[in-house]
Subunit: 353 residues, 2 copies
């Protein structure tokens, strides 16, 4: 494999010096791009696109053709694992993801088993390999997975719930059952991320999208403990290079210290967190990734420059910052606003390095 | 007016000694109670119930007939103010609140004016007076309003949005317009809460339901600054008694210090916050209200006792704690689970006082 031409992201995640602040965007290959919508239409639907390595590779590369991004992220979905477990992932038009067979009975939970990534998730690994070849060392490729708890939310609720009543009821009434699911998920996520690393992912990110709906105590017991198992089980090196890990807990601003302590290299921050305060709290231990409110990209370029500049200034001088949004990019974002953001970060960040 | 027989809530809010930890529940008069659903059916719908002082009084008192609660809260809605401004509040069946005439044009925003509570919101004040008479000093009556920013979210979006793109776009593109709305809302909320106090509310609470969707900087400029104006404008005494104020910002756990500094007597905590840590951070300045995850009430009584006990223990010894949920009670709560919670708090809390 060729050496990375632009290793700014990897260096920033390892808190090594960089000439500027690298940037990539969560969900950068997505519905705000007309070329993405065209490819998705060719695939038929979102899930068919995920499962078609050639087309998934195509959409992974689309934002890199438009923008001077410092990383690619494999086009996939966090719910590929429960789908591989046989729960039957589908997307109803205009709604979020759903499962045909959510976990309702104790025997269904006891029957769960860890999918073999090389078999059940071969399409994702194929995409990783194809993207890695196509990138030819231009920028690093990010692999990802959902956190064990976030996957369990969907597996138990059957869909994204507004109050997560079903999974929380299980948490308080039958913690043993939820721990069983989480334990299997942790093993599955670890194997899946390691398979992505072996297929060519040069850094990996765990999305704990729903950990923030838990109480302080429940978050630590039912979400962070299992994300920690995943991080502990990851390959730290591949092809002679360090493979940094990133953990993102939406709504986890109160818990940055304990998340930073699980052994990951970087923390993703949602937009509610002041990145200057976060750096003072945990910047000596981990890199920070974030954290512009995606809604800023709906405002004109002048506002985008101002708000991006404010985040760079709050982080301050030195390495260890990866610029990103605090959540996935909105489908309503005008593509030229993304250019404005990337130019602002590239133009303004040099003086902090 | 008769002296309060049970002033435990007021004393706890003022951090004065109490024999036990008082308890009330956000949305305690609501759809989990069959008697509430009957009265609502008689009224026709939720909004008609809010606007009928006799029936609103009836449902306000229903949870007190069932449970040994330490307070009543006037049955109403946070959106009465924008409705009184002429935006046309309505509730589509099975959906959240909506406005017929959300603020879309600059002239509509410039045309906004502060409603006169005694005229436009007389039905709420009538309810406050009727409830106060019916309570006959048994427990205190809580008045409430939405925060200026939370009201603005609904006024600009026209409904509860999942990403609040419209109001956030205005925030970043035309902050002057949003500041204009917020300034009028702050004046309106202050006048409305003072009118509730004069009508008989013995403590008042500001619900900042959506402040937590903002970035750190935007929260302080666009939400907290205006809640602070409200608190500064409130009557501190009425009928010779202190009228404590409570501010609740859902998702505001990172900002407890700055919220506690605006001059309110107590902070509501959502369930994600560890109440022990919160007390260490701000317990010397304000009382704390909360913060059981409403989902715990879906689990069996044994789990409810355990989780309620954990919160009492985390708060620890001494006054200044009002037990509550961290958000409104779920409509799916079995009514007998509320009994279990109140008995647990009453039974366990004495040893901390």
């Amino acid at each position: 494999m060729p050496k990375l031409k632009n290793d700014t992201l990897i260096r920033a995640l390892l808190r090594e010096p960089t000439p500027y602040t690298p940037i990539w965007l969560m969900r950068q290959a997505g519905r705000y791009l007309p070329e993405y919508n065209q490819t998705r239409a060719r695939a038929g639907n979102f899930l068919a696109l995920c499962k078609n390595p050639a087309l998934a590779t195509e959409v992974t590369l689309q934002p890199l053709a438009r923008y001077a991004l410092d990383a690619a992220i494999v086009f996939s979905d966090i719910l590929t694992i429960p789908d591989a477990m046989g729960l039957g992932l589908y997307f109803a038009e205009g709604e979020g993801p759903k499962f045909e067979r959510p976990l309702r009975e104790e025997w269904e939970i006891r029957d769960l088993s860890v999918p073999d990534p090389e078999y059940h998730l071969a399409y994702v690994l194929d995409t990783v390999r194809q993207v890695r070849r196509a990138l030819a060392g231009s920028v690093p490729l990010i692999g990802f997975a959902g956190s064990p708890f976030t996957l369990a939310c969907y597996m138990v609720e059957g869909q994204s719930g507004s109050d997560f009543a079903t999974v929380k009821k299980m948490l308080y009434e039958r913690p043993d059952l939820l721990h069983h699911i989480l334990s299997i998920n942790a093993t599955a996520v670890t194997a899946y991320l390691n398979a992505q690393i072996e297929a060519g992912a040069q850094t990996v990110m765990v999305f704990d999208t729903w950990g923030g709906v838990l109480s302080h105590a429940a978050f630590h017991q039912f979400s962070l403990a299992y994300t920690a198992r995943v991080i502990a089980g990851l390959k730290r090196e591949h092809e002679g290079a360090r493979v940094p890990s990133i953990v993102f807990t939406k709504g986890g601003g109160a818990w940055l210290e304990s998340i930073a302590a699980i052994g990951c290299d970087a923390l993703g921050l949602d937009w509610t967190v002041d990145i200057g305060t976060a750096r003072a709290r945990i910047g000596a231990r981990v890199a920070l990734q974030g954290n512009l409110d995606p809604a800023v990209l709906l405002a004109p370029p002048q506002a985008i420059q101002r708000e991006a500049g404010a985040i760079l200034e709050r982080y301050g001088h030195g390495s260890g910052h990866v610029f990103n949004l605090g959540h996935g990019i909105s489908q309503h974002t005008p593509p030229e606003h993304v250019s404005a953001l990337i130019e602002a970060v590239r133009g303004l960040s040099g003086s902090y390095h």
